[in-house]
Amino acid sequence: MTSRGFISRALASALVIALSLTAAVSSVRADTLVYALYDDIKDWDPAVAFSLEAILLRNVYEPLVRYAALEPGDPSDTPPIEGVLATNWQVSDDALTWTFTLRDGVTFHDGTPLNAAAAKASLDRTIALGQGAAFIWDGVEEITAPDDTTLVIRASRPIPIDLIASAQYGAYIYSPTAAENGTDWFNQGNASGTGPYTVAGWTRGQQIVLEQNPDYWRTWEEGQFKRVIMKVVAEAATQAQLIRSGGADFVTLLPVDLLQRLKNDADITVDLAPSWINTQALINTKKYPTDDINFRRALTHAWDYASIATEIYQGTADVARGPVPATMWGHNPDLPAPAFDLEEAKRLVEASGIPPRDRKISAAYVGTAAEVTNSLLVFQAYLATIGVELQLRPGPWGKIWDDAKNLRTAPNMQVLSWWPTYPTPADWLQGMYRTEDPTLFNLAHYSNEEFDALVDQARALESTDRQAAIDLYARAQQILVDDAVAIFFADVSARYVHRSDIEGVEKNPAYVGVDFYSLRRRQP
């Protein structure tokens, strides 16, 4: 029939035109970096953002100081803090007052100058809003700006303000003039910081475009990226395809089973570096049958640590030793390595006295994490061989967390990934294991007075007597391991997956994402 023939011919010619045109534009412009995000930015307000927004915001806003990249060495060394918007800082003898000297000649993207008054207004607002990571400033009594370049922060008790001011959340200095417009203004995709890039546009759910800030206080050189497109790509498979085709220069999701194939591709670089992210399965200490310590210990021996790290994580995670990642200062290096021993597990199950019909437990986790799902499936199989039945409860984070907080609905095990707001072991020890009422993140529902006292003491000593703090933290970690409050199974490595022609990737476990300013594309 003629109409059908016409239609098919028209379609064919259209397709041919399209293909020839797309062939012409398939290569990314050399001075543009394409970075694939796994979700859209939700909280644009630098005082509120507490999630993946940091990947974007760290290139648009800057803090007073930053925690420099991790150097291998003794983790008890003095924290390597560098100045960013502050050039100099010192603490008073009583450890309560910190004085920062601000950098000259810096302006915000909206043209207002950076001075102590602006910095003070910025931090005051963050603290006053009380959202996101504002809690890191707990203990700060007053912030003053005696002159244009001097910022004074006074606290009521000794807290490590230099570390806190380097935090990846809640420590940005932003334009107070812009902030007067309120959080809603920010959430329309507006920004005004001091950073190397400005926000040029935001297509909801699709991409964010950043452009070079010509007035940035550091110099720009030939070869740095003039433009950055942050694409929202939710599927791991799609991100993998994009990095292979060159459609993206950086990806943030990596299906670990494709790791080897991507490594073998000369055009792609896969770098694993230390991060401070770890994943653990918290064991509910107040719910039967996991309220029995022998039963909990049995569980810790039924986990195949080595195989899971090698096969399920494909080497992108190390076997964890204890609640604090091995690369974080204050980690207790004397903690015993966890042992996968089914015989011992079986013995402990019997020793617990739990009758066979009650050897049933549940484990909740975020359903979209493939590595966690697969690890739990392996765990489930091994538990079955020692007569313990594991019921899996995947779900979205909102529901999981809601259920876990309440003892009535909480599961026996809760898988949780954790990373610090600013670098301190207290973030884990206090955030996850200190007695809490009502429960927030202490999803093991653990309550131990001795432990609480150790952590509180250590926190108070952190900035004055670091070594003493480290010793106290070490004891606290040992208690957690002895009490089998969790299966500590993965110190997750940071994955930097990018095209091989991208150079200058800085790997810093203190901050998620990368600094675009340091990147260059190697010319052929």
Binding site: A240, A370, N374, Q380, L392
Partner: protein
Amino acid sequence: MSLLNPEQDVQRLSRGARYRRMAARNPLLIAGGVVLVLIVLLTTFAPWISPADPTALDLTNRLQAPNADNWFGTDVLGRDIFSQVLHGGRLSLIVGFMAVFIAMLIGIPIGLVAGYFGGRVDAIMMRVSDVFLAFPPLLLPIAITAALGAGLLNTMLAIGISWFPWYARIVRASVISVKSELYVTAARAMGVSHTKVMLRHALPNASTPVMVQGSMDFGYTILAAASLSFIGLGARPPAIEWGLMVASSRALFLDYWWTAAFPGLAIFITVLAVNLFGDGLRDALDPKFRGRV
């Protein structure tokens, strides 16, 4: 074009000959039926005929391409995909069947009552059904499953609840056409109760169209259940179900095609068989279509 009047021909034949004739005129019905029976048998006897335990992990044998040991290859945890496909069929078939059953369970009584009593009762019931029909297909099952929580039981309920209006309508139309028949009026005059009239006279009349619709819907419900599992709202691990298998393979399928291909094909072939069977049934039973191959 055939101008035969098959009804007259068929009446004169013996029962066996009648069925043979029906078979000859409806090869699709037979083909679909045969494949369907085969699938049901294979999935029912899966525990006995599958070469391996579908839940058996083997971390040293992960993501192997189809080979002599694993006809469909292995998945991300080293499990045999052929065994998984065999076992997974059960859930898919059961969920599809139960969803249709639930839809019928809800829809038939509503249609009966609405058609029989007419008037306000009819209007109210049909308006309520219309509200359920206002949702584009799949959107309501998605929302209901999310509300009830993931899991195949909730999937069955969700699809069944969303689908009942069709059966209500069919039964209602059938009841209305029967209501005015003489024998119904006679029965009522003799004092037979409403319920008895509905059940004994109106309902049987609706059985054929309901069966035909049901067999055609069965394919759709299997697809809907698999789609829900694909999004993550249906079956959850460690359950084995075809839609879930495709979902789990999504990050890897471009490199390890067999992890998605075989479960997907299984869904396709099953639904194909069901649809052919349903079509064939309609062709055989619906007067307008008799006489056409």
